[in-house]
Amino acid sequence: MTASGETLARVQARSDRALARAALAPGATFDEVVRAVERAVGIRLDVVAETDTATWGTLTGFLAYFPERREGTIHVRAGDASLYREFAASHELGHLLDDAHCSGAVHERSSVSPHRNPALSTSEIEAELVAEQVAHAIARLMYAGPRVAELSW
């Protein structure tokens, strides 16, 4: 297996583990997803839509995590469409669900791919890829899961 193949396999395995922790149900609402992550990680979470984001640049969301208080806040841009805000927040949920979130994650989501960010170390890139993959998986559960009414007849 090539180095990039190994990385992808590791990212996939971490993402699968992270998702399994939350035991999310297809068709869940975003609020239900946040509550499921709270239960899985054992902290209280708030998602805050920030209006003053003029200085955010390419930043689309970030996580403020206070392990000693068992609390966290996820900050997203109020001006973004709700579906995109939820995706940015899901990326941070991905960091929380990832076993290695305390070591190597920057807890910020940029609209720029981590591959194109020279400031990130290899482990940071890997953590970003895991969080992004979890966010996509959460989105599929929320929006792209099969709807019984559309399967019936």
Binding site: P26, G27, T58, T60, D80, A81, S82, L83, Y84, F87, S110, S111, V112, S113, E132, Q133, H136, A139, R140, Y143, A144, G145, P146, R147, V148, A149, E150, L151, S152, W153
Partner: protein, 308 residues
């Protein structure tokens, strides 16, 4: 005459469903539940004898009206499967459905049919109504099987809450027709057995019940049409979004390769388009933003509120 038209209309509708959905049922195990419901419905309606003479079909079963029992069991199971088609989880398969209820009800139908009516006379469309005039056993079976099918009708009404909007209304009208038809038949059988039959009451069952069945079949067609419309809308949006991505020279995200279906690809690409707009500080035009809004509305659709 009206009854024959209603039965044949429902029969033609269900035959179209059976033929039209055969390929889908072959490919997708979940779709086999609905297909089997329609198939059993076709056989149940055929046993009414509007196309093949009733006596000829009953003769195969001994010529003692056992065809009536077959018809009752098939009708009940077909309606129950129709409920399952609309309520069972996306992962459900025919073999994983909770068959206990319909099998128990079918067992009761069979036992009471043979125990309460040991001698049933020659094949006849109205054998039960005729027999109930003199036989309490025929009355017991008639009331029991109508109550059983009426109960399934009530469950059908409840289950319709998870259906697509137009289908929900048609299924509910159908369920009301079926339940009222069953109720009118119970009253008619009781009057026939113990009092004096009333002509108006005797004439109620067929229009109520079969109009209910026709409404149910119309609901199936409405569901089918809406589902196709939603699928085509998703495909059209994906085509337009891909064109937008090309227009903006977007590098397609890695996640797009793993997106298994149209909605997943739509979501992945939609996020990538927004990412690119923010990353390069090149805002989307009004038209491009309107397309993303359409995609969002499609992805966040809650056709019924029930998903699994």
């Amino acid at each position: 005459m009206v009854t024959v038209v209603l039965i044949d209309a429902a029969l033609i509708g269900l035959v179209l469903v059976v033929v039209g959905r055969a390929r889908t049922a072959w490919r997708h195990p979940r779709a086999r539940i609905a297909w089997l419901a329609a198939f059993l419905g076709v056989i149940a309606l055929l046993t009414q004898g509007t196309l093949v003479p009733l006596a000829a079909m009953d003769a195969v079963l001994g010529g003692t009206n056992v065809l009536k029992l077959v018809q009752n069991v098939l009708t009940m199971v077909a309606l129950w499967l129709g409920i399952q088609a609309g309520t069972a989880p996306a992962t459900a398969r025919i073999r994983t459905l909770r068959w206990g209820f319909p099998l128990a009800l079918a067992g009761v139908f069979v036992v009471v049919f043979f125990v309460a009516m040991p001698s049933r006379g020659p094949s006849s469309f109205l054998f039960l109504e005729t027999a109930a005039a003199t036989s309490t056993g025929a009355w017991v079976y008639g009331v029991l099987h109508m109550a059983g099918i009426g109960l399934v009708g009530v469950l059908l009404y409840r289950s319709a809450r998870g259906s697509l909007p137009v289908t929900r209304r048609l299924f509910r009208i159908g369920a009301v027709g079926i339940v009222l038809g069953c109720f009118s038949e119970i009253v008619d059988l009781t009057l026939t057995r113990f009092l004096v039959p009333i002509e108006v009451v005797s004439a109620l069952f067929d229009p109520l019940f079969y109009l209910g069945v026709v409404s149910f079949v119309m609901g199936i067609f409405a569901a089918s049409r809406t589902t196709v419309m939603i699928r085509r809308r998703g495909e059209s949006l994906l085509g337009r979004l891909e064109a937008l991505a090309r227009e903006r020279a977007l590098t397609l995200p890695d996640a797009l390769g793993g997106a298994p279906d149209v909605d997943a690809r739509l979501h992945t690409l939609r996020v990538a388009v927004e990412d690119e707009a923010i990353a390069t500080s090149t805002p989307l035009s009004g038209e491009q933003r309107a397309l993303l809004d359409e995609v969002d509305a499609h992805l966040t659709r809650r056709t019924t509120g029930a998903r699994a």
